[in-house]
Amino acid sequence: MAHEGLFQELKVVVGEEYVVHAPEDLVVFEYDGSVDKALPLAVVLPATTEQVSGVVKIARSHGVPIVPRGAGTGLSGGAIAAKGGIVVALTRMTRILEIDPVNRLAVVEPGVVNLELSMATAKYGLFFAPDPSSQKACTIGGNVAENSGGPHCLAYGVTTNHVLGMEVVLADGSVAWVGGRTRETPGYDLRGILIGSEGTLAITTKAVVRLVKLPEAVKTLLAIYPRLNDASAAVSDIIASGIVPAAIEMMDDLAIQAAEAAVHAGYPADAGAVLLVEVDGLKESVEVESALVEEVCRRHNPMEIRTAEDAAQRERLWAGRKGALGALGRLAPNYYLIDGTIPRTKLVEVMARIKEISAEAGLPIANVLHAGDGNLHPCILFDERKPGDTERTLEIGGRILKLCVDVGGVLTGEHGIGVEKQEYMPFMFTEDDMASMARLKLAFATDDAFNPGKVFPKGASCVDISQMKAVARAGAGAFV
């Protein structure tokens, strides 16, 4: 075989069984949590930084691209080998190297699963704040690459706010530290640049993360509204009232129906929207703020308000929200999930516009959103077997993202650009903006060695729908 020599060299570095190149084995590395697929040439599973460095050097000497991969739960195609090459899966580097409760930090390998870290630090009353919905499976390395958020990042911030430093392998195979254990280190904030760079600039092999005190009290409130507009207005009002809840989540009527069918959360059949607000902190302020939130919610004519104070009750209130996306499969064979963010004051306007777009196109759109951040997740429901459905879905997806950008928002709040939204980059950025970003690749001397074919538009800046068709097995979706 053409690449036998390459495989042989890789095997010397990571061991025979951790170089995967049989066709049957590669097929399970052609996807991540998104809709796109591409087969890699080989997959290697290094166990140490030195092995990662060795693999990078070998790949470079053969002129083969490298695609870093964690658990493969990402939603924008960040972990797929868009241009072939070697996938470096970091799922064997799973050690929590250190927990330092005094300085509230932990040092972890990239394959450590997000939730496992919080479970390991809970005994010190600490946790790792970013909580993407895939937190049971996704890795810290992946969180760093994608700058992951989660429902609770409204109050706590996203990954970049919680990582102090990383050990990384650069494109020449050298190992460097960016940031460190302390808040300030001399020089440019390379740490901040690498977080969210979608694996295109370096491979993280260790991360120093901040740990946050577990809140003393948590109160969750569920407000059910007859109309979407009322719920959207309530969200804007809560934010404007000077309270920053830990999370504000919202679902519209279609999402409610699906969730109700799947998990029987007990939502009224005629509910137009459900709002889930969580307040945490010191118990005295939680008391006051949850009362204030409730008052604001009541101002917008809810059908009903429910509250939860213990873990079991909270679990019940969250059940509908958490089960919503998985349940959308009940409404249509496929759905296409969008991830734009808008200023929170535009919620009413944009939600209404999305409903109009849905009606115009004749395709239902269910909405599940991190409303507190203005992070929308419209899900276009369609059936890929119906002629024209897929094309229309993609076209609407583009229109919704354009709408987000037009009202002062952005293309993606937490899923990343990847291959999914690369063609939409010109909605938001000029040629100069993108050229400036692209220079980072030169600064990191990657020569497109790391994760090529991502983030930046492929060729011309216009969005070519026919090109997107390959992407369109959009049964996929995802859990946000």
């Binding site: 399970v28 991540d32 658990a71 699963v113 049971k136 499976a137 049964g475 996929a476 995802a478």
Partner: protein, 486 residues
């Protein structure tokens, strides 16, 4: 039989003319494409956790199924290997947001693989014998195990092991011999017996005897009848019932499994009962899924659905009854291993704990990751021995951490595996069924049945008779020790 080694094609470029899924039992597309490869299942999967390899994950196995289904991959030995490493614990089903019926998919897939396996003549004969000539016939199985018990107890086993005679036999024989647990002095058998309730009957239930549990754990089966009877149940153990067919589905012989399911449905529905109680978690889920197994059988589809609705796991049944909390003390520190086929597939996790916590004196401690598989999984201990042991050792480490002196669980496979685990870990810890502990607690009660609830034929008679039987015979449990009626 031919396996075509075929380089994988890019997505969407199917190449026909390689062996694909076929027939009415092929994995259903509807189920397959429910998987949106979100990856939530990864951390639930014991083989993924152990290897960190996507190929050994539920999502990876489904991707292989899809690739075969789409004609991008053939049914090759490499593909089989990844499917075979699945323990079928179904922990992934529990965490799947899309509701992918993984158990159904992997069973259907393994069934597709069967005809393509390259087995030696000897392997094929052995498998055929076990599946078609032994398991469906409880009397043959009993005779075999009787002979085995003789082998173990007569000193022959020691001799054979010492002389390493088995090394001369076919490959795998040594492991099989070693994994066979010490057999008890008495077996249990379904002979149409009826164990009367203590006190006024509250319900009438039929009990699945099963295939291996009555032989490996005969005395434990009797604790089940006693516990039921103590809780006011008339317990019948219908004659003519057969193995539930779990092992057959597990390794892909769906036709045989269906025949056995039909037989059991006939036998158990011959007389009216309130519930069909199953003491083995693996058999419980199998029987609860008869409806799906026989969905294409016009004569049985509906009956099977109704039957499945009647099947109750013993713990589930006792708690719903509700059971009488025991008065007798057990001063044990107990931890509980969730059997996969109880926790993941039947979603029964609270009830065994409720039963254990009800026992006065008993201290209950949770172990870390109690729902993670111990590595038993039917024939898995034989076919994937090395891997099974890796999982077992990890499990025993978690168990040891609790400092418990009794490890309780709910499935014969788990009991056997965990007993072997205690041997390997060299701990004096005992492995017990939850019902055994409950029975022990009941037996520690003052021997004075509550006033007004005395009957002549109670479970306690059975216990006395059992002692007597054990005294009289060492070769089997053929005597009918309980007066029963059909």
């Amino acid at each position: 039989m031919t396996t075509v080694e075929k380089a994988i094609t890019q997505p969407g470029q199917a190449t026909p003319a390689i062996p694909l899924f076929s027939g009415p039992d092929a994995p259903e597309e509807r189920d397959l494409y429910k998987c949106v490869h979100c990856g939530f299942c990864l951390q639930a999967c014991p083989t993924y956790l152990e290897t960190g390899l996507e190929t050994e994950s539920p999502r990876g196995r489904i991707a292989l199924m899809k690739a075969v289904n789409e004609g991008r991959l053939g049914l090759t030995p490499t593909v089989f290997r990844h499917w075979d490493l699945c323990i079928q614990c179904r922990a992934c089903e529990n965490v799947c947001p899309s509701g992918v019926p993984y158990g159904r998919l992997i069973e259907a897939t393994i069934a597709q693989v069967e005809p393509h396996r390259k087995l030696t003549w000897m392997q094929r004969r052995m498998a055929d014998f076990m599946l078609n000539s032994a398991l469906p016939y409880q009397n043959r199985l009993t005779a075999m195990m009787g002979a085995m018990r003789l082998y173990q107890q007569s000193g022959l086993q020691r001799l054979v092991r010492k002389a390493r005679l088995l090394k001369l036999g076919p490959k795998g024989l040594v492991e099989m011999e070693r994994s066979l647990p010490a057999l008890p002095d008495s077996f249990f058998a379904a002979q149409g017996q009826l164990v009367h309730s203590i006190g006024t009957p509250r319900a009438r239930v039929a009990l699945l005897s099963g295939c291996l549990m009555p032989l490996f754990h005969g005395p434990a089966m009797r604790t089940v009848t006693r516990v039921l009877s103590r809780n006011g149940c008339d317990v019948s153990v219908p004659a003519g019932q057969v193995c539930c067919g779990a092992i057959h589905t597990h390794i892909g012989d769906l036709e045989k499994a269906r025949a056995m399911a039909r037989r059991n449905i006939d036998v158990f529905t011959a007389s009216r009962v309130d519930a069909v109680v199953v003491a083995s978690a693996g058999c419980g889920i199998r029987m609860k899924e008869y409806g799906h197994l026989l969905r294409n059988d016009p004569a049985y589809a509906e009956k099977a659905e109704q039957f499945s609705a009647m099947v109750k796991d013993i713990h589930e049944y006792l708690v719903a009854l509700p059971f009488v909390p025991p008065q007798g003390r057990l001063d044990y520190k107990v931890t509980y291993q969730d059997s996969c086929h109880l926790s993941h597939t039947q979603r029964i996790t609270a009830q065994p704990r409720t039963l254990l916590r009800s026992i006065p004196g008993l201290t209950f401690v949770e172990m870390e990751n109690s729902t993670r598989c111990c590595g038993a999984g039917g024939t898995y201990t034989i076919t994937q021995r090395e891997f099974s042991l890796r999982l077992l050792d990890r499990k025993m480490a978690a168990v040891r951490e609790t400092g418990a002196d009794v490890l309780a669980t709910a499935n014969p496979g788990c009991v056997i595996q965990l007993q072997y685990g205690t041997q390997r870990a060299e701990t004096p810890m005992r492995v017990k069924y939850v019902t055994e502990l409950l029975d022990e607690a009941y037996s520690n009660e003052p021997r004075r049945p509550p006033p007004g609830q005395v009957t002549a034929e109670g479970a306690w008679d059975e216990e006395r008779q059992e002692m007597r039987a054990r005294w009289k015979t060492r070769s089997g449990d053929r005597r009918r020790r309980i007066r029963g009626r059909e």
